[in-house]
Amino acid sequence: MRYLPLTQPDREAMLGVIGAPDIDALFADVPASAYLAEPIAGLPLHSPEMQVERALSVMAGKNLTAGTVPFFVGGGAYKHHVPATVDHIIQRGEFLTAYTPYQPEIAQGTLQVLFEFQTQVARLTGMEVANASMYDGSTAMTEAVFMARRITRRAKAVVSAGVHPHYVGVLNTLTRFTDDEVVTSTPSLTAGAPGDDIADLIAGLDAQTSCVIVQNPNIFGHVADLTPLADACHAAGTLLIVVVTEAMSLGAIKSPGEMGADIVVGEGQSIGNGLNFGGPYLGLFACRDKHVRQMPGRLCGETTDADGKRGFVLTLSTREQHIRREKATSNICTNSGLCALAFSVHMTLLGEQGLRHLASLNHARAVQLAERLGRVPGVELVTTQFFNEFTLKLPVEARPVIRKLADKGVLGGISLGRLYPGVSELERGMIVAVTETATDADFDAFEDALDEVLA
């Protein structure tokens, strides 16, 4: 077996050193009733690499790959072009096969990357400090709510109707059994500002509200100025948590930090990471300096070594589970380190100039397609201010339309019916995302297919 270096003579010699008659002797603590004498039934035996590759390639071949079709699916996961350099770097054994940098003298590579990543995320979000990553955007959002509770000592969280319903679902799951109160609402497809409930959120602020959570651009792609909301929150002693599910948008739109956010969480997949059917992704988490000791997750900080040379270490670990156990700010341990590396490499390749260019390109292409599709008979462009994603209202239910588009080889977007089952006002809605990867031919194919399906 190719992954097992011990030979039979090795095993015998080692048992000799141990003084055990056979391998079973080492499992003596296992009750006999639970100790299996044979390989577990119902599973195949070991397999050559070539056979494994073949079997998995067959499975992979059954999926319709984004890169092979006109592709417009977004909703919190985006297909951007990831430079080949990124994948090369994350495959370096020294990055790929390292553990969490608990021995900093031989982990300066990982640590310096984290320090750079934290800085990049803080600047991108317009915040003062960012952590070394969370699992994904949705879990980061829940952690932010818990952090706000710790800071404000209030237990009510108010969630904007524009927040990704899966993110809201995760929050609901996690708070179902705690004392937290979570206020949610169902969005409406208001033309021009779908899901925009800022006025209501402001009106609803009270002295029990720990935090208001708002997503920008929201699930419908709508972009809003959060400054009034931030001001109102701060006046009420409430923290503003801003969720960003398309990190690329931060290259084009005023940052949450500039608009007054107290905590910014987001999904970083867009930068450096592929679609991967939903994971692994990259939770971004940033806040103000003053709240850093309530942050969840790992933090990397600068220090010096015994020779006075600059170096980096994991720090403020008294917040973390391995030190604080049940009093920790979070239970997170393993995070998304390698995805953070991929993000950081891609961001380094882009630089500010490249990021701005790429974000503008996304926006301009989305505007072009939105205006085209908005002219398809019966189709209404609901989101008029957006980054690279917008919502259409179709003349018919969107779910079957999307399936029919897929039959024509076009992955055209996400139906609101899938995201909001049972909400009949939304079932004609369809979210369309456009990135730099979509060509004019893709636009043509989409428009033609939509025309046909709606005809």
Binding site: L56, P83, G93, A122, F177, G308, V313, T315, T348, G351
Partner: protein
């Protein structure tokens, strides 16, 4: 020329040569400045299509102020990260015997498979008909996990071990509430990993500790004594964090169940028993499996991982959304919509993540399982346990081995620094001396039940030669430390950095780069 802090020019012993260099580099050990010192906002390592001219629709919110994100050209980027990588240790370089972490070989086949466009380039919200292969993969992996653990259900979406714990504890919560029983206490052994109590607290339980007995196992009597109508669950790790099998686990499960509570098993150490013992046969109700430990997905310097959770019949109905079901003509992803429409699914406690879990890790783990097969996985456990016992047997005459008298260990050998007591040296000093020898040290100071703990987990992917070298070096270090302790108070000396000041880092945290100019202005 770089000098050491005291400004002396050091010469290399036995030659007239100067040890310091102009660059600060030392041959192939290269220094690398921060991105923020190297790059600038007008440099760029990508070429992009021109931006078509359109009337923008950004609601007047275009980002206009400087962001401060330096870029680098592509060659500089490759070099920046390659040079940094060389300041890291990884399994690819040598043994990485971090106890509790199962740092085993990461097959490159898995990396290749995870990058097949059919897996890597599909969107989580594509129509289900277009991702049947992906759903099949998840279902197949689920089948393996259920079969290997002897449990009837598995939740695939948790993103890591701690997230799996959360999933399990939420299911227990849901099961208790479903029977109208709002128990709030969770019992956790002292030796448990920090994520266990943190998780329990995270979803609103009150945590109480259970002591260990002299043999390093859960004190069954103390546990039994504490069971009662307020106890929701016991979280237990098996094999435990001392590297020992909990021989009473079956009885513990029976007692816990009898008391109306559930047993959550931390499966981080499943590698020791995979293919040999099915946790289901021991009676546990929920257990997470770190695919990034037992099933070889790489740790990536901290993540990502994946923590599927297997469930007993009692907890199965409460498993989170979404999940995959095999149907007559394919595979169905059960999300909120399907769960609403299907009575048997409506007890799910809900969604744990935005999408369906760590697909990239699923592919790797399945490739690994298929490669090993039922026979190979069994051999994995055997060799992992054999390797750990070989280390224990080879070092216990010189290293303090607190539980060695109580019989063999499982997949990891636990030592302590008691034997160094008179030297004033500690586990930390020993770990740092190992760095100079070219090894990653073992886990230090965990589990907490042993003072100055050193937890050595070699895994099954180490050869005898590799173990012999580690053992030889650890013996040599111990002997040298006992003979000449002062030579080892300031290790490491040969790594990219000498000992780093963690206290200073925490006292006045510097958590990001501040531009010298702009921040001064």
């Amino acid at each position: 020329m770089t000098m050491n802090t005291v400004g002396r020019v050091t010469r290399i012993a036995g030659t007239g040569a100067v040890a310091e260099t102009y660059t600060g580099n030392r041959g192939l050990m290269l220094e690398e400045p921060l991105l923020f010192e190297r790059g600038s906002v007008d440099r760029c390592g990508v070429d992009l299509d021109p931006v078509p001219v359109v009337q923008d629709r950004l609601a007047g919110l275009a980002r206009s102020t400087p962001i401060g994100l330096p870029g680098l050209s592509e060659p500089e980027t490759v070099r920046h990260y390659t040079r940094l990588s060389r300041q890291n240790y990884g399994i690819d370089l040598g043994i990485f015997p971090l106890g509790s972490c199962t740092m085993k070989h990461n097959p490159r086949l898995n990396e290749k498979m995870a990058r097949l466009p059919g897996f890597a380039d599909i969107h989580p919200l594509q129509p289900q008909a277009t991702v049947q292969g992906a759903l099949q993969l998840i279902d197949t992996l689920a089948y393996w996990l259920k079969t290997l653990t002897g449990m009837p259900e598995v939740a695939m979406s948790p993103k890591a071990g701690a997230h799996g714990e959360l999933c399990g504890m939420l299911a227990i919560r849901a099961a208790l509430e479903a029977r109208g029983d709002a128990r709030k206490v969770v019992l956790v052994p002292e030796s448990a990993h920090g994520t266990n109590p943190a998780t329990a607290a995270f979803c609103g339980y009150a945590v109480e500790n259970i002591p260990a007995n002299a043999r390093g196992r859960v004190d069954f009597e103390a546990l039994k004594a504490r069971l009662g109508p307020d106890v929701a669950a016991v979280m237990i790790t098996n094999p435990n964090t001392c590297g020992l099998f909990e021989p009473d686990l079956k009885d513990i499960c029976d007692a816990v169940h009898a008391a109306g509570a559930f047993v959550y098993c931390d499966g981080a150490n499943f590698n020791a028993i995979v293919g040999r013992v099915r946790p289901g046969d021991l009676g546990v109700d929920a257990m997470h499996i770190n695919l990034h430990k037992t099933f070889s997905t790489p740790h990536g310097g901290g993540g990502p991982g994946s923590g599927p959770v297997v469930f007993s019949e009692a907890l199965a109905p409460f498993a989170p959304l979404p999940f995959v079901r095999k149907t007559r003509d394919g595979y169905e992803l059960v999300e909120e919509m399907q769960a609403r429409q299907t009575p048997q699914y409506d007890r799910s406690f809900g969604r744990m993540v935005a999408f369906h879990g760590q697909m990239g890790m699923f592919v790797r783990a399945l490739a690994y399982m298929m490669s090993h097969g039922a026979d190979g996985l069994r051999q994995v456990a055997e060799d992992a346990v054999l390797n750990a016992n070989y280390i224990l047997a080879s070092l216990k005459d010189i290293y303090t081995a607190p539980f060695a008298d109580s019989g063999p260990c499982m997949h990891e050998a636990l030592f302590s620094d008691d034997f160094l007591h008179d030297t004033g040296l500690t586990t930390l000093d020993l770990a740092k001396a190992m760095i100079d020898e070219g090894f990653h040290p073992m886990t230090m100071y965990f589990p907490l039940v042993v003072h100055g703990a050193m937890l050595v987990e070699p895994t099954e992917t180490e050869s005898k030669a590799s173990l012999d070298q580690l053992i030889g070096a650890m013996r040599s270090i111990a002997e040298r430390m006992l003979a000449d302790p002062d030579a080892y108070r300031t290790s490491p000396h040969l790594a990219p950095r000498r000992r780093l000041d963690e206290t200073a880092a925490a006292r006045k945290p510097v958590l990001g780069w501040k531009d010298p100019v702009s921040d001064a202005a």
